[in-house]
């Protein structure tokens, strides 16, 4: 949230106003929702790429107790594909919303 409220949300709102003119209240609500979601996407799917993140440590801890010895680095490496995919999927969501706004403005 340290980045979203002062940085990302104003950028998104500014860009939307520049491209599509004045925004309705519902549009701003949805923009805020997407801005909040961005942080979760990045945080959740990116954090385990770091070898010493809480998630990675928990994974090796639990697996060790269950009798599987794995290295933190292997877990971090295994987290890379989904991190990349999460970026792509979120980008698709944002582009889709962009298109929706354009359509709405054309109809009006």
């Amino acid at each position: 949230m340290q980045f979203i409220r002062p940085l990302i949300l104003p950028m998104a709102e500014g860009s939307a106003k520049n491209n599509y003119g004045e925004l309705e209240e519902q549009d701003i609500e949805e923009l805020k929702g997407l801005a909040g979601a961005t942080e979760n996407y990045g945080n959740f799917y990116g954090q385990n790429v770091f070898v010493a993140s809480g998630g990675v440590l928990l994974i090796i801890g639990v697996l060790k107790e269950l009798g599987f010895n794995v290295e933190a680095l292997a877990v971090a490496k295994a987290s890379i594909p989904i991190a990349v995919i999460a970026v792509i999927v979120s980008a698709v969501q944002f582009l889709y919303y962009d298109k929706k706004l354009i359509r709405k403005k054309k109809m009006a």
Partner: protein, 304 residues
């Protein structure tokens, strides 16, 4: 070598816990002085000399910590912290060199994990020590500033800082008590144990559903991995690191879809002054579902 270094790092964690206890005990405006300092002092003991204390006693000590936390006897202290003007002046003076210590942790952790046999944990610890030394050099801060700020951060994280260790222990407990076997026998009645595809689907969807209910993927991970992951996926020949890593992020797909994960979904909505406090979740649900399906495919492709 790795174990000695790891032990040394645990002792350092313990010393920081003792420092947190010291500031709690001596803080002029500290609420719940006894409970808070006791909590951090016990944690310090477990970290420093835990291996020489009988296991049952350590267990009892952890229970005392849990009781203190449950009755809200562990409070954040009021710390003297630098004024905004001082911070601004220092920031201008030091400039971008401020980022060097933070990056040093990541670089050292990764480098040591990649190029030595010491492992990521030791890497993280050494990285933190290096970063601390660099910060002393670049900022010229005094030692008591470092100890006070460390104690302040630990106070702020609070009892939640030991949650990952406790949850890992919970997984072991479930395993020892045979909870995993009960779950897997229940599922085994519906699911053939040797059907890898169904096993992977059960593991990923189970993680997401359990996380939606509990609001926390960490807690779900211990339970679902013992009950579903091990018998239906790991014992079928999956690479444990790959399968477990994906199971954890499959759980995060559940976090995206649940109001139970209030700090990520509901608190953020109020910070952004959203009228609809469920707006963030509404936006996240389609992405969560798509990513969950991708997790199932990835686990089938990458872990086998």
């Amino acid at each position: 070598m790795q174990n000695i270094l790891l032990e040394l790092l645990y002792v350092m964690c313990g010393i920081i816990s003792f420092i947190a206890a010291y500031y709690a005990f001596n803080g002029k405006e500290q609420e719940c002085r006894i409970g808070t300092s006791l909590f951090w002092a016990i944690l310090g003991l477990v970290f420093t000399i835990g291996r020489y204390i009988p296991k049952n006693v350590v267990g009892a000590m952890i229970l005392v910590m849990a009781i203190l936390a449950a009755f809200k006897q562990v409070r954040v202290g009021k710390f003297f912290t630098s004024s905004p003007e001082f911070k601004e002046k220092k920031a201008a003076e030091i400039g971008n060199k401020l980022f060097v210590p933070a990056l040093a942790i990541a670089v050292a952790a990764f480098g040591i994990a990649q190029f030595t046999k010491l492992g990521g944990l030791v890497g993280l610890g050494i990285g933190a020590v290096i970063a601390l030394l660099i910060s002393f050099v670049t900022t010229g801060a005094r030692i008591d500033e470092a100890t006070r700020e460390s104690a302040r951060l630990l106070h702020q994280v609070g009892p939640a800082s030991i949650l990952p260790q406790l949850l890992a222990a919970l997984g072991a407990l479930f395993n020892a008590a045979g909870v995993g076997e009960v779950i897997s026998r229940g599922i085994g009645a519906i699911l053939p144990a040797d059907n890898i595809t169904l096993g992977v689907i059960a593991y990923c969807v189970g993680m997401a559903l359990f996380t939606i209910i509990m609001g926390n993927a960490f807690a779900a991970f211990a339970v679902i991995t013992a009950g579903v992951g091990v018998p239906f996926v790991l014992n079928q020949g999956a690479d444990p690191a790959v399968a477990a890593a994906l199971a954890m992020t499959a759980g995060y797909c559940g976090t995206l879809m649940t109001p139970m994960a209030a700090n990520f979904n509901i608190v953020s909505a109020s910070i952004l002054e959203l009228k609809d406090k469920y707006m963030i979740i509404k936006k996240q649900i389609p992405v969560g579902i798509v990513l969950l399906i991708i997790h199932i495919i990835l686990m089938l492709v990458l872990a086998f």
